[in-house]
């Protein structure tokens, strides 16, 4: 057994908990999960069946925790996990899975398959089987604080640009502000209008808020890689700046996994409760609307639809808020045929978007989103994740489609009273 394989197997052994044992012990291998997975439905390749992606973990569980598995291992009748297995599953777990959790929602036994795929990634990462693009993003995140390699200079440039655009001053490093707004690198270099939009909205609503120049990155490449140590380190940096600035709330920007990580996973990575509350920008906007602090004027009268980011809707329960916000300004809001907690992923979640090797497969998987959009008359797609936005724009361009994609904060800010 190679040293890398040994590290992977040991890591997988350590990932086995009561949930995993219950899940594997009760799986009847019905294959229903395949019908919920865009990588299977769009390719017809049975290897993309979600429960099959957990095979390395199942093998380790079976050979170490079951009567038949231990017996077969001792008699030399079962094949142990090999380097070749891990190399094969690297493609299945990283290229052919966006950890969207749709499979989890349909399993008749109730197995949280996405939870186990996340654990498979832990084993693969420990053994060094991580796509290059994702590995480099992780290294940049650790070294520079941004998976795209951005620094404070890039943030300052984006802030200056948006101050010029809005004619307003953007608060940075304000100690004692109520809210600290984190950003994704995408929102600094590609969709900086997000910064301008929150500046305008928060000014109208009288919100005390700030950005942080010490650490602005909300995304967590550790989660995408499946490396808990990196995930904990990056989560800890957010907690550190929030504590330094003594804020009451941390705002997750328009990013799916960033929200799930800060809101739900960070306390568990860091093994302590957070000294502040975490809200997604949509939760805050809806709250401001309810309190009468967010008022709009004018309406968007063309057909428009909303793409649910998986990590925000299915994995984190923010489903009604975007619809409430959409209905504030849209007079012709169309839902896709599967939406909310059963939306179809854009195909770029779980680190797939950072993995160039997965591009052809991602384009194929995008076919389901194309069909969803083709059924609608909407020419505008609103979403609440900059990564989804980027993948949607890429998929639309690849398919020669003309729809425009816009972030929900910018969409609302456009109609600010």
């Amino acid at each position: 057994m190679s040293a890398a394989l040994e590290r992977g197997v040991e890591k997988l052994k350590g990932e086995i908990d009561a949930r995993v044992v219950s899940y594997f012990s009760s799986c009847v291998h019905c294959g229903i999960c395949a019908e919920a997975c865009l990588f299977y439905t769009e390719t017809g390749d049975e290897r993309y069946t979600p429960i099959y992606k957990t095979e390395p973990l199942r093998k380790v569980w079976q050979q170490n925790h079951t009567f038949w598995g231990k017996l077969a291992s001792n008699l030399g009748l079962s094949k142990p996990l090999t380097d070749s297995d891990l190399a094969d599953w690297e493609e299945l777990a990283y290229d052919g899975c966006s950890v969207c959790s749709r499979c989890t929602m349909v399993c008749p036994i109730g197995i949280d398959i996405a939870y186990m795929i996340r654990k498979v990634k832990e084993g693969l990462a420990a053994a060094g089987y991580v796509p290059d693009g994702l590995q480099l993003a992780g290294e940049r995140a650790l070294k520079l604080g941004s998976p795209m390699g951005l620094t404070e200079k890039s943030l300052r440039a984006a802030i200056a640009e948006q101050e010029k655009e809005t004619g307003m001053s953007i608060p940075v490093d304000v100690v004692g502000a109520d809210y600290l707004c984190m950003l994704s690198s995408n929102e600094v270099v590609t969709y900086a209008e997000f910064i301008g939009s929150i500046t305008r909205i928060f000014a109208k609503a009288g919100i005390s808020w700030t950005l942080s120049s010490d650490y602005f990155e909300a995304t967590n490449t550790g989660v995408q890689i499946g490396d808990s140590k990196i995930a904990a380190e990056l989560s800890g940096r957010i907690v550190k700046v929030a504590e330094k600035l003594k804020v009451k709330y941390v705002i997750s920007p328009e990013c799916g996994h960033a929200y799930t990580t800060i809101r739900w996973d960070a306390p568990n990575f860091l093994k302590r409760k957070l000294p502040f509350k975490v809200v997604h920008i949509m939760e805050l906007l809806e709250q401001l609307h309810k309190e009468g602090k967010l008022k709009t004027k004018g309406k968007f009268n063309e057909a428009v639809t909303y793409h649910d980011p998986c990590n925000i809707s299915r994995r984190a329960g923010v489903i009604n808020q975007p619809r409430s916000l959409m209905n504030m300004v849209a007079t012709n809001f169309e839902e896709m045929h599967d939406h909310g907690d059963m939306n179809w992923c854009c195909g770029g979640g779980g680190g797939v978007s950072s993995n160039d090797r997965a591009i052809p497969l991602r384009y194929k998987a995008f076919d389901v989103k194309k069909r969803q959009l083709d059924e609608l008359s909407a020419n505008t797609i609103v979403t609440a994740c900059s990564n989804c936005r980027m993948i949607l724009e890429d998929g639309l361009e690849h398919n020669g489609m003309q729809q425009e994609v816009i972030g929900i904060t910018e969409f609302i800010a456009h109609y600010l009273e």
Binding site: I16, D17, A18, R19, V20, V21, S22, Y23, S25, S26, C27, V28, H29, C30, G31, I32, A34, E35, A36, Y40, E46, R47, T49, I51, Y52, H65, T66, F67, W68, T104, M105, V106, C107, P108, I109, G110, I111, D112, Y115, R263, W264, D265, A266, P267, N268, K271, R272, K273, L274, K277, V278, R314, R315, A316, G317, I319, D338, D341, M342
Partner: protein, 213 residues
């Protein structure tokens, strides 16, 4: 001699293995434990677990049409099997004389025949699905097939012994049941029990997050 063993010692062994095996499997699950979720909850873990415990009995509308064969065959098999197990006259008589000490009303003969046909049809459809569909063929294990074949034999011998005309047929049925009981705790047949904690774990996590799963 063999008949006496099947009626006596084999049955006793099967019951002991069945009960202790199930307890052992449950301990095997729960001894690993789970870590307390430290995130501030948005909803209740208990109500989430209860919700998922029941919601998964029905398929999500979004994929219902794609899995209709699974659902129909699954319900046919499981309902047919449970009706046979609980309401077939010989089973009630056996429970009264050897297990519980009391009995209850049995279903009429025609209902037995209908239930058996439904259960057999469901089991065969599920088996065909397993061997013909590329997805299930890829992910199925030997254990899945052994469980299916054992259940088929149990049901087949049960139907043959329906009238209790020949001791040999009744003994064949009892023997396959005993084999089934011994195999049960060491197989994925345990899903009959472990679906409850599996749904509970998933439901409680989603419940904390305010998601109805």
């Amino acid at each position: 001699m063999f008949v006496q063993w099947v009626n006596g010692i084999f049955w006793d062994i099967a019951v002991v293995v069945f009960v202790i095996g199930i307890i052992w499997r449950l301990i095997a699950v729960f001894r690993h434990g789970t870590r307390k979720d430290l995130a501030e909850p948005r909803g209740s873990a208990v109500s989430g677990a209860v919700y998922t415990g029941f919601s998964r009995f029905l398929p999500r509308p979004e994929i219902r049409s794609k899995i209709s064969l699974h659902v129909i065959a699954g319900y046919m098999f499981h309902l047919g099997l449970f009706v046979l197990l609980l309401f077939a006259a010989p089973h009630i008589k056996f429970a009264e004389e050897h297990v519980l000490g009391f009995g209850w009303a049995a279903m009429p003969h025609w209902a037995f025949v209908v239930s058996a046909q439904i259960a057999f049809a469901g089991l065969i459809l599920l088996w065909l699905q397993r061997i013909l569909n590329p997805v299930t063929r890829l992910i199925s294990r030997a254990d899945d097939y052994v469980g299916t074949y054992l259940l088929f034999l149990v049901m087949l011998t049960g139907c043959m012994a329906m009238f209790e005309s020949y001791t040999g047929l009744r003994i064949a049925h009892l023997l396959t049941v005993e084999l089934f009981m011994v195999y049960f705790p060491f197989s994925s047949l345990m899903h009959a029990i472990l679906f409850i904690p599996s749904r509970g774990y998933t439901g409680s996590l989603f419940g904390l997050r305010g998601v109805k799963a």
